[in-house]
Symmetry: C2
Subunit: 475 residues, 2 copies
């Protein structure tokens, strides 16, 4: 699996440099050596996951480079709208990430699960003699993992493969926006079905102030599935909407992944065994390889981009978050990490629902003279002015500095900036270089996410009786 050897193409853009080859080969070699070492003793699935993620990074880095011409030839290509002279670049490279990621998580299956099988059955796959499995939950052994998690793990893979299939279908057939919305919903079916078969826990913990009225736990029943489907639909779409400049899709996903992983670590390295350890190990097993392949993609997609990511990447990434959030039972925490995406979605609603005209592309406008990005605008002609109520709302937003509105002497609307977070950031900060804008929004994501985690762990005790740090899980 080490990306050794050189590509048959001699062009520098499609083959690895000697330094790159050497680095990737030695990184993969070291990772595989560590991986081989985890077979000794009881196994260390977390270390194994980390090593496999590094191998996935190397493989993905090399494959993105090698497959560029193949993708262009197959028609997956596009031009960069924010560059002066842009060559045709390969599109949909997120599908390479998805493929490498899927291979990684599939190959990883035996690491956390095999030891338990040997312990929990009388060996040789003979399942007639079931010895007590539940003792595995008691001790604090990171290498132990309950076998009943295997079905969840497989269900998660099925959901991710479904979103990959649908994402590729979207990239191929250019599905209409209205239909696109349902794609992640369809992909969440396997997840929900496995959840139904395997857990079917549909109660939520009620905040303390409401407990006198609703009790400690409230069984949502069928609505819990609707809620999970909504989470699975929101994550991919909201990430797909915060897009349009080099690197921003990937960098936001890496930040969110790192924050979730950080949150997971809070549960793993507590001074005493935490009951939610399994859920958070589960989450790490899915996130680490995704961080690996995303970093490989970012190296090619960061300004100036040499490849584009395609819808597949955004859908897939959102689904990874939804999967770990749902099966790890921390979908509310996940929401706190996606606040910028949530804001971007709500802010976009007037254009999505047609209150304000929505052009095909709303990405920031590239000013070829200054080389900077400026907010893109929606023009208004004197014949076609917004509804008076909408006009008032636009003026209000302008006064709140949440929109840039230009009017003529008669007070008629001439143009308004498009309603996306990127445009709003440019309204606030003035014209920026593309990579500068990507950096700033990425840091915003990081800051908001860290604050969200702070709120989650320090302030949640005000409205919930017990935090996850307490003795009861949030199940």
């Amino acid at each position: 699996m080490a990306p050794s050897g050189s590509s048959p193409h001699a062009s520098p853009a499609t083959s690895l440099s000697r330094t790159e080859t050497l680095s990737l080969v030695s990184l993969s070699g070291a990772s595989l050596a560590i991986l081989a070492n985890t077979f000794h003793g009881d196994g260390e699935p977390l270390i194994a996951s980390l090593s496999l993620s590094l191998v996935a990074f190397s493989l993905c880095y090399a494959m993105i480079r090698w497959l560029g011409p193949t993708f262009i030839k197959a028609g997956f290509r596009g031009r960069d709208l924010s560059k002066v002279n842009s060559a045709e670049l390969p599109e949909c490279m997120g599908s390479v990430c998805a493929a490498v990621y899927l291979i990684t998580v599939i190959i990883f299956i035996p690491f956390p699960f095999y030891k338990d099988i040997v312990a929990a059955t009388s060996g040789g796959g003979n399942r007639d003699v079931v010895v007590e499995i539940h003792h595995a939950n008691e001790g604090r052994f990171l290498h132990r993992f309950p076998h009943n998690k295997l079905a969840s793990y497989l269900g998660a893979i099925i959901s991710l493969q479904t979103i990959a299939l649908l994402g590729i279908g979207d990239d191929l057939f250019d599905i209409r926006w209205r239909h696109k919305w349902w794609i992640p919903g369809l992909a969440s079916i396997p997840l929900l079905v496995v959840y139904f078969v395997d857990f079917d826990v549909t109660s939520i913990v009620i905040p303390v102030p409401l407990q006198p009225f609703l009790g400690d736990l409230f069984d949502l029943g069928f609505l819990y599935y609707v809620y999970m489907a909504c989470v699975a639909m929101f994550c991919p779409q909201s990430i797909n909407m915060l897009a349009g400049i080099n690197g921003i899709e990937v960098s936001q996903c890496i930040v969110v992944s790192l924050l979730i992983a950080f949150n997971d670590c809070l549960y793993l390295f507590t001074p005493y065994p935490h009951p939610a350890t399994d859920s958070h190990l589960f989450s790490l097993y899915f996130l680490l390889p995704w961080i690996g392949v995303s970093v490989a993609l970012l190296a090619h997609n960061w300004y100036p981009a040499k490849v584009f990511v395609g819808d597949t990447y955004c859908y897939f990434s959102g689904m990874v978050f939804a999967v770990v959030g749902i099966l790890g039972h921390f979908s509310k925490t996940l929401g706190l990490l996606l606040v910028p995406q949530l804001f971007n979605f709500l802010y976009s609603c007037p254009q999505i629902f047609g209150l304000i005209p929505c052009p095909r592309h709303r990405l920031p406008k590239f000013n070829a003279r200054s080389g900077l990005l400026e907010p893109s605008i929606t023009p208004w002609s004197p014949d076609r002015q917004p509804h008076p109520l909408v006009g008032k709302a636009l003026h209000l937003l302008h006064r709140l500095r949440l929109l840039r509105v230009t009017t003529d002497e008669a007070g008629l609307f001439v143009e308004t900036s498009n309603l996306t977070l990127l445009n709003l950031w440019l309204v606030w900060r003035g014209p920026l270089k593309e990579n500068r804008l990507a950096w700033e929004v990425t840091l915003l994501q990081l800051g908001v996410g860290l604050f969200g985690l702070f709120v989650r762990h320090k302030l949640a005790l005000l409205i919930f009786k017990e935090d996850n740090w307490g003795s009861t899980g949030q199940h």
Copy 2:
């Protein structure tokens, strides 16, 4: 899910006729009504699977019709080489089958598994109290299904999704033949990994005459995985190779599916409970929906074809057979049903391995004057004659009536028929109309398969101590 309503396109080729719509809607309605009835009492997963398969048939039938123009627009199109005036037809319609099939088997998950979960745990997903699960294996209740099969079921779905992804990749990027060979091998990884984690039984039963030397059971260990990977690689490729005329890919798959399903029924309707019941129920759950979507495809792909199936269909279908054969532990029986494919593969080897030149297409030649198909040929020029040994072999095959060889007066090779079963059949039977050839080869498949099953169940006792009809399973 009922394919009601009419397509926005008015053209008769892309929308359903009134009769078709009515039939499909009433079929789906009746199936859904039956499905709803299976919720009463203990549930009847086999009936549920049958109803879902009928719904899948209706949905697939309608979607193939509706999506034709979309596929043509996206570049999935081709011309029929065996017709006088062929319009461009949509290609890769097998991917629609695969998509509908995957949705069906995913939605089906709760039917066989849910009741057991309720019985086997203390309810509400609480897995701390594990009551005896293995009693479920004792009685003869078709509605009971052991929970440990859930992981196998999910693993099978992952393998099938992987082959769908890879098949679409193949259809998109036109992967070279040499690399194609490995695609099903890659897709078998999930299956093997889940097998490893969940069963890891690697012993085979030794035929009686060899038992004094090798013992009753022989543990193949790692080699058993190689064997399974080979099965998974052989099935898709061999089906992909027996192709080239309208309908033949689909009709052979339907025949093989029906034969496996017939074999499964032999185990279900025995006078006494059979220990392999579970494996064969498992097999039926995967085969019935596949028969449903395949019949829908055949209706459009049979002579004269209105759509083409694409590599995705052949790969996917082969993988369905490999999955049920491997996880149902009847891969040897499966081999008996694929004898025509095996023959076609072996017969093709001289051209595959370059002993005889291999043109890009080896499908039978269409004679536009007579409207009949004739064997296609490999031409030999006087400068480029086969190696003397190969020449001798060709003459021998000619004498055995396994090849048509034409030589000039000097004894030099002028042309030889291409080495495929379809061409050989035309050598034997003379020029045939395309649909006649497809019928005859399909009936050949059926006859050989029925004979194979007869051998399996009546003659296997001569070399194995116990048949599956006996008291021990073939695990």
